[in-house]
């Protein structure tokens, strides 16, 4: 028989242990989730670590960012993953995303966003955009120094500010990024294999049809010599 | 001097609260005005050196009755009272009659009995210095308990029985519908 209220006391023992050990347990003391803030005045400006890279745990998720596959100083728009499908815009619960598609001179959709705005004063960090994106183009950032003097424009993040390289993503969320890359590679391989299989099947079918047509042509050449040779379909 | 000033302030607040309570169209405002009246009344009880009654007044009337009134009002429509029609002539007639009759019934015995007519609030506070000086020392609660448990024990028990019956009745009325065999609530 369980003692009345023993569940609560058990839970309280767990929290008390956490409380006490966070002060005295050397192991736990150095693994508190909070990391010390890197003060600007404490270090010369050129030696400052990139904030989001080092001062935040890799489990931190703040606001969304857009990914591109470019390296170094390449034009990020050349390799942007977003194709302006607007799924995230439609799924966003607080409707903080605004997207406009890009068209070339002929009025043809070029599968890139010309405008991609996220209002981070509205965003509630739910990650639904990340969940629904079929192109792995939008993921969560962990940048936290977002204070701004301009309440409206300062908190409206534009496309170019949202664009971050895949390398940056690997730095801030290594495990998640690796997992995502692996999955993308796997899917790509699967797709290619499928494509190759389909191509092979197509080729085979074409060969088969050609053979059949050749057989047919060979079988009845006397009936109608003027008949055109069957084209393989 | 101070007692008199306090008495007049408290009385003014009480009258103001009572007037607001009946004149405000907004029911919630009316209840809060009524509670102001209760608070002033408990102040007057303190001036009568009935501190126990004052405490009970706050506990029961402001803490319980007021909350109950507010709860009931939240269950009704037209809380803000904007769309209520005005009282007709008949309403005014009966209302005034009641307004005169109830105080008359309450005051009449006191007027008839000269002894209690003299026991006005200020007279008690001023004319009884022994009581006034010993305000915090006098064990009024104990005396009250003795009276309730000895002289008035029968009325007290009858009242307790009545309240218990009311409590059980309220529970019976509000009781949830019986569950049927499948364990689901049957719609009320």
């Amino acid at each position: 028989m369980k003692l009345l209220g023993s569940g609560i006391f058990k839970g309280m023992a767990v929290t008390l242990e956490n409380f006490v050990r966070s002060y005295f347990d050397r192991d736990r003391k150095h693994h508190l989730f909070t990391k010390e803030y890197a003060w600007k005045s404490d270090a010369p400006a050129d030696q400052l670590p990139a904030r989001a890279d080092t001062t935040v745990t890799t489990r931190s998720r703040n606001f969304p960012m857009l990914l591109h596959d470019g390296k170094g100083s390449e034009d990020p728009m050349a390799s942007i993953r977003c194709v302006a499908c607007q799924i995230c815009e439609r799924e966003c619960p607080p409707q903080c995303i605004f997207i406009e598609k890009e068209y070339d001179a002929n009025g043809k959709f070029v599968k890139r966003p010309v405008i991609f705005d996220i209002d981070i004063s509205v965003c509630m960090s739910c990650q639904i955009c990340v969940e629904v994106c079929p192109f792995d183009a939008i993921v969560m950032n962990s940048e936290f120094e977002l204070s701004n003097n301009d309440r409206f424009n300062g908190l409206l993040v534009r496309r170019d500010a949202l664009l971050k390289s895949n390398d940056y993503y690997h730095r801030i969320h290594p495990e998640e990024a690796q997992e995502r890359d692996d999955r993308m590679a796997r899917e790509k391989a699967e797709k290619e294999a499928k494509q190759a299989a389909a191509d092979a099947a197509k080729k085979k079918a074409a060969e088969l049809a050609a053979e059949k047509a050749a057989e047919l042509a060979a079988a009845k050449p006397k009936v109608d010599p003027a008949a055109p040779t069957a084209t393989p379909q | 001097m101070i007692e008199q000033v306090a008495f007049y302030i408290l009385s003014a607040v009480a009258v103001l609260g009572a007037l607001l309570a009946v004149s405000r169209r907004n029911l919630v405002h009316g209840v809060f005005a009524l509670l102001l009246f209760f608070a002033a009344l408990s102040g007057l009880f303190v001036m009568l050196l009935a501190d126990y009654v004052a405490a009970v007044q706050v506990l029961v009337y402001i803490g319980a009755v007021g909350i109950l009134l507010l709860f009931t009002i939240m269950l009704t429509e037209h809380v803000t009272g904007d769309d209520l029609r005005r009282l007709g002539v008949r309403g005014w007639f009966w209302g005034l009659l009641l307004a005169v009759a109830v105080p008359a019934v309450l005051i009449l015995p006191a007027v008839l009995n000269e002894k209690s007519a003299k026991a006005a609030p200020i007279v008690v506070a001023q004319g009884n210095p022994a009581l006034a000086n010993n305000a915090t020392q006098a064990n009024t609660v104990k005396a009250l308990g003795k009276v309730l448990m000895e002289k008035y024990v029968v009325p007290l028990e009858v009242l307790a029985l009545l309240l218990t019956a009311a409590l059980i009745g309220a529970v019976a009325v509000a009781h949830a519908p019986e569950k049927d065999a499948s364990g689901k609530d049957t719609p009320a």
Partner: protein, 377 residues
């Protein structure tokens, strides 16, 4: 006359100041303890203005918060009841301050005549305490109603239902002590515990448990923080409050926590009684505050541990568990006070109360089974 007024001022003003400054300290303490329970650090540095010194352990955090509250814009929702919206935070704060003066908090400089006019010496101090705390309920309702916001109103209604329900076990468990002492005066209750605190009696221990749980609900503390449940109704009754009005609510809430724990200390832990008080009377108020902070630590600890109750669980717990148990405890205490044999009363009382508590909890679990949903299937 003037003497009396000065005495009253000397008795009340320090109490208000001490507890108001302890409020700031308590918010800091709460954030620190909660942080450590969750393996975080909590507030740990605030710049001292105009200096580069910032290793203050976050002790200046309450000051910074207070300043922020003061300069924040005061927003009153469109269509709100402006007067009641203003009145509610004041009404929440004033009773909390008033009841603090009812605690038998012996200020070091108080002489005999001052002690005599101290409100704790009042013949019905405990009753007045419960009366004045019940005004708090009204303030909460007023805030909820005046904001003209459905979440505020829901929070207000929840608060009223909860506070009214938990007042009954609260008062009934305090009544045990009053019965043992035979007086409602806080000073006499403390005097009666000069040698033996009531927490060390079987009925006192049970009454303290009930009182403590009910006081958590009465002050809207976790796990009974339904009126301000962030995940359900934003911030409950003070959703629409900002700036200084919000600060007043916050202050009022913490002052009522001090007050109700002060009453718990008075009733069960012997008030300012403790070692060396006979030799150094000024230790009395130190002991009193230390005991209050001991209880507050438990409250914060509980907040870091237990999840929030559901509304029906909350009500069932008050009416079907705490209330019968506290009534039973009244009878148990009456018998134990007559018998006066510790070796007999301890096992007997413990057995009766535990059996009752066990039975009541079993009774509540009778209908618990797999949940059925009407619409969500």
């Amino acid at each position: 006359m003037i003497d009396t007024l000065i005495h009253i001022l000397a008795l009340t003003a320090p109490v208000a100041m001490i507890f108001a400054s302890l409020f700031a300290f308590t918010t800091w303490l709460e954030r620190k303890i909660l942080a450590r329970i969750q393996n975080r650090i909590g507030p740990n540095y605030i710049n001292i203005p105009f200096t580069k010194f910032r290793k203050t352990f976050g002790l200046l955090q309450p000051a910074a918060d207070g300043f922020k509250m003061l300069v924040k814009e005061d927003i009153v929702p469109h269509g709100a009841d402006r007067f009641l919206h203003l009145l509610a935070p004041i009404l929440a704060l004033v009773p909390a301050m008033m009841v603090l003066c009812l605690l038998p908090f012996d200020l070091p400089f108080a002489n005999e005549s001052m002690k005599r006019i101290h409100a704790a010496a009042l013949d019905n101090a405990v009753l007045l305490f419960f009366g004045i705390t019940s005004i708090n309920t009204l303030a909460v309702f007023m805030a909820g109603w005046a904001s003209r916001n459905k979440y505020s109103l829901l929070g207000g209604m929840r608060a009223v239902a909860q506070m009214v329900s938990y007042e009954i076990p609260l008062v009934l468990s305090a009544a045990v002590v009053i019965m043992a002492v035979g007086s409602l005066s806080a000073q006499k209750i403390v005097a009666a515990q000069s040698t033996h605190w009531f927490i060390f009696t079987p009925w006192g221990l049970a009454a303290f448990f009930i009182f403590f749980i009910a006081s958590l609900a009465e002050t809207n503390r976790s796990p009974f923080d339904l009126p301000e449940a962030e995940s359900e109704i934003i911030a409950g009754y003070f959703t629409e409050y900002s700036g200084f009005k919000f600060a007043l609510f916050f202050l009022g809430e913490y002052l009522s926590i001090f007050a109700i724990n002060g009453l718990a200390v008075t009733l069960f832990f012997g008030g300012g009684n403790g070692p060396w008080v006979q030799a150094h009377p000024w230790l009395s108020c130190v002991w009193f505050l230390a005991k209050i902070f001991g209880l507050i630590f438990i409250i914060i600890w509980l907040r870091g541990t237990v999840p929030r109750l559901r509304v029906d669980q909350l009500m069932a717990f008050a009416w079907k568990f705490l209330m019968p148990l506290s009534i039973l405890n009244l009878f148990v205490a009456a018998v134990a006070l007559k018998v006066q044999q510790p070796w007999l009363t301890w096992p007997l009382c413990a057995l009766v109360l535990y059996a009752a508590a066990h039975g009541l909890s079993r009774l509540q679990q009778k209908n618990v089974g797999p949940r059925t949903y009407q619409y969500a299937e």
